[in-house]
């Protein structure tokens, strides 16, 4: 692996190695560019992944403190962990569950389709659906998504049999084993899924796509990737003309270093991406880098999330098998007669035993709580994943009370769910209960919002530099060689799990950078 010089002004710096950063590294090195990619966490491998959920959590999770406020559930239910994502090479693609639905055409025109909803900061995406669809197709081939391009669907698990039977009885039509970036047969030099039930702990066979063992090693094989793990970027610097010149970071030994750069791409997961831009304030960019619009950190979206569990008289053993291998798509529509704008997916879900009481039943104690866990063998589970509306004041700021190990303010998350989100949650969890009741559930249990696993919107795309942080290529309006390459750029959340969209937009951004660089404009 090459080691580029700190003062090499020809490298592209990428901050973060997950779905966005890892994909960018492969795409840019393929195009002949030299890349230095920073990752705050350590490098794991299929061999070091642990199927002890507690160990895996400690090994992979972003555990730096955050502060939070607002009326969303995690303030009460998950005070020390408002968001659950990764700090490891491969980022959150190490612990994701592989669900890869596309956004629907109506969802990227949310402002036009839903109208002006008070209390929401809706906007249309600055990109045509046909264009997005073209890049979805490229991304789906890259990730080997099931039920696309001739890849077989996943076989049905016990948990899915329950969801399927109930959903069909309710009249739902589009119910299947989901679109998954998990090999349903061996492909891309990776094994097929053997239904381990530990997607979240890191897939020990590599059947699930992760940049850790796909995009990143390919970029390394090009000889043009310098991956610096355990290195934490604290600031992006710029010159007098307002162009990014490089980054300041702490190396694995905690020493401050400076890496010069020709282009900087930030893909730190939407909370840390916003934090880094805010930390990079300067005399010229007084409210944070590329933040003349005051939109950095605002419009934070995390999806309407809720578990629904059904308890039956007979065993389900829902911990066996790929976690999210099932979906009901019928509610991913715009139909205001349901009492809210936007739509949702009902996705198959299970929780391993140690995680269930923490994420799925986080308020509980006493007989009522214990009686749910007592039925662990006989539980079926699903996760509501719905579109939450962006709000200007749902935002990431720099904490005024808490600092990290380097003395830098940690991210503060403020979130008040929009009434539309609450109406959708009530409808979706109600439908989830009905699905289980239709096949004889003796009890159903609904969880509050678990820690946020999908972070979006904190540096959103917009044609209008006053309404967003980047243009349609994720290129910031104010700093021409600064790009945002993760879910931060999503103008709205839609109901799709974000990874496929992040990869599609990264592929498109890399194509744009490659052309601009070749034409001498970057």
């Amino acid at each position: 692996m090459p080691r580029f010089e700190l003062n090499d002004t020809d490298v592209v710096v990428i901050v973060g190695s997950g779905a966005g950063g890892g994909t960018m590294a492969n795409e840019l090195t393929r195009r002949g560019l030299k890349v230095v990619m920073f990752e705050a966490g350590k490098r794991q491998s299929l061999a070091t992944f642990s199927q002890n959920p507690g160990e895996a959590f400690a090994q992979l999770t972003w555990l730096e403190p955050r502060t939070q406020s607002g009326s969303w559930d995690p303030v009460k239910t998950s005070p020390t962990l408002p968001a659950w994502h990764c700090r490891t090479v491969g980022g959150t693609t190490v612990h994701w569950t592989g669900a890869t639905p596309r956004l629907q055409p109506y969802e990227i025109r949310a402002r036009s389709v839903y109208g002006d909803i008070p209390g929401a900061s809706l906007a249309d995406w600055p990109i045509d659906y046909d264009e997005l669809k073209r890049w979805y197709q490229v991304a789906e081939k890259r990730l080997g998504v099931t039920r696309r391009n001739g890849n077989p669907g996943m076989p049905a698990s016990n948990n899915f049999k329950v969801m399927y039977a109930g959903a069909r009885r309710l009249g739902y039509k589009r119910v299947h084993t989901n679109y998954l970036a998990i090999n349903s047969r061996a492909r891309d030099d990776r094994a097929f899924c053997i239904q381990q039930g530990f997607c979240v702990q890191g897939c020990k066979t590599g059947a699930k796509w992760s940049t850790l063992y796909t995009e990143i090693p390919r970029a390394e094989a090009s000889g043009r990737l310098d991956l610096r793990s355990e290195c934490f970027v604290t600031r992006i610097e710029h010159d007098e003309a307002g162009r990014a010149t490089g980054v300041v970071y702490r190396d694995a030994a905690g020493q401050e270093q400076r890496q010069r750069a020709r282009i900087v791409c930030v893909a730190g997961n939407a909370i840390e991406t916003a934090r880094l831009l805010l930390l990079s304030e300067s005399g010229r960019f007084k409210h944070g880098l590329a933040n003349g619009s005051d939109q950095v950190g605002r419009n934070y979206c995390h999806h309407v999330l809720s578990f629904v569990f059904g308890i039956f008289d007979q065993p389900v053993s829902f911990w066996r098998g790929a976690v999210l291998a099932g979906v009901v798509e019928d509610e991913n529509i715009q139909d205001p007669r349901r009492g809210f704008a936007g739509g949702y997916h009902l996705e198959l879900a299970m929780l391993d035993l140690p995680t269930l009481p923490l994420i799925g039943l986080p308020y509980g104690w006493g007989r009522d709580f214990a009686s749910v866990v007592d039925n662990y063998r006989n539980m079926a589970g699903m996760l509501v994943n719905g579109e939450d509306l962006p709000r200007a004041d749902n935002r990431i700021t720099l904490s005024s009370t808490r600092k990290d190990g380097y003395g830098l303010p940690v991210a503060h998350i403020h979130c008040d769910p929009h009434p539309n989100d609450l109406a959708m949650r009530a409808h979706a969890t109600g439908q989830g209960r009905k699905i289980y009741e239709a096949v004889g559930a003796k009890r159903t249990v609904v969880s509050p919002m678990p820690p946020a696993t999908h972070q979006m919107g904190t540096a959103r795309m917009s044609h209008d530099p006053g309404q967003g942080v980047t243009n349609a290529y994720g290129r910031t309006h104010e700093v021409p060689n600064l790009f945002i390459s993760d879910g931060s750029v999503q103008t709205t959340a839609g109901a799709a799990n974000p990874t496929l969209t992040i990869v599609a937009l990264a592929l498109r951004q890399a194509d744009h950078i490659g052309r601009e660089a070749a034409a001498g404009r970057l």
Partner: protein, 189 residues
């Protein structure tokens, strides 16, 4: 959301243990026929404590059983939580004092009260730091060990056994199978 796994290592055979170092001890006997019998060297177990007296440990164990009442889950699993709470408190004088004061705030004879009375007492301190820290520790430790996994049915690590592809991920028979068009075939090498 979990701390590192707590294993049964901290439960030792009572007969092999020297009791001189600890402040208090918690002891128990595993029920005949329990699946735990294979996990431990003998049915009688004992744990040594660093902070708590035997009486305090017994009260804490009763509190944990009230937070997460699984009647047939062996006391040995609950003892792991006691050990974890005790171990956390050993780190500082402040934590030590906080834990002891918390337990002292439970009424005399708490461990021997009927469940309804214990619940009533805990409701009164439910929003306080002591209760919440014990509750969170209970969630973190009680369900993250082989004793609990065996009790509740969670089968744990599966990679070394080839996952569940041929071991029951689709063995549910009380509902119809899903048509192939909405699922997919079993993979073949």
């Amino acid at each position: 959301m979990n701390t590192r796994a707590t294993h049964t290592d901290s439960l030792e055979s009572a007969d092999r243990r020297s009791f001189v170092r600890g402040v208090g001890v918690l002891t128990g006997v595993i029920a005949l026929g329990s699946p735990l019998a294979g996990l431990l060297p003998s049915r009688a177990w004992a744990v040594q404590l660093q902070v708590l007296s035997s009486a305090e440990a017994a009260a804490l164990l009763a509190m944990i059983r009230t937070i997460a009442p699984h009647d047939t889950l062996d006391d040995a699993a609950y003892a792991l939580v006691v050990v974890a709470v005790d171990g956390d408190a050993a780190g500082s004088t402040e934590a030590r004092a906080g834990l002891k004061a918390g337990i002292a705030s439970l009424r005399d004879g708490f461990a021997l009260m009927p469940e309804g009375a214990r619940v009533e007492q805990l409701r009164r301190i439910e929003s306080g730091t002591f209760f919440q820290s014990v509750r969170i520790k209970t969630l973190l430790v009680l369900y993250n060990n082989p004793i609990a996994w065996s009790h509740f049915g969670f089968e744990g690590e599966s990679f070394s056994k080839g996952g569940y592809l041929l071991r029951g991920f689709n063995d549910l028979k009380w509902l119809p199978d899903v048509p192939l068009a909405d699922s997919g075939p079993m993979p073949t090498a």
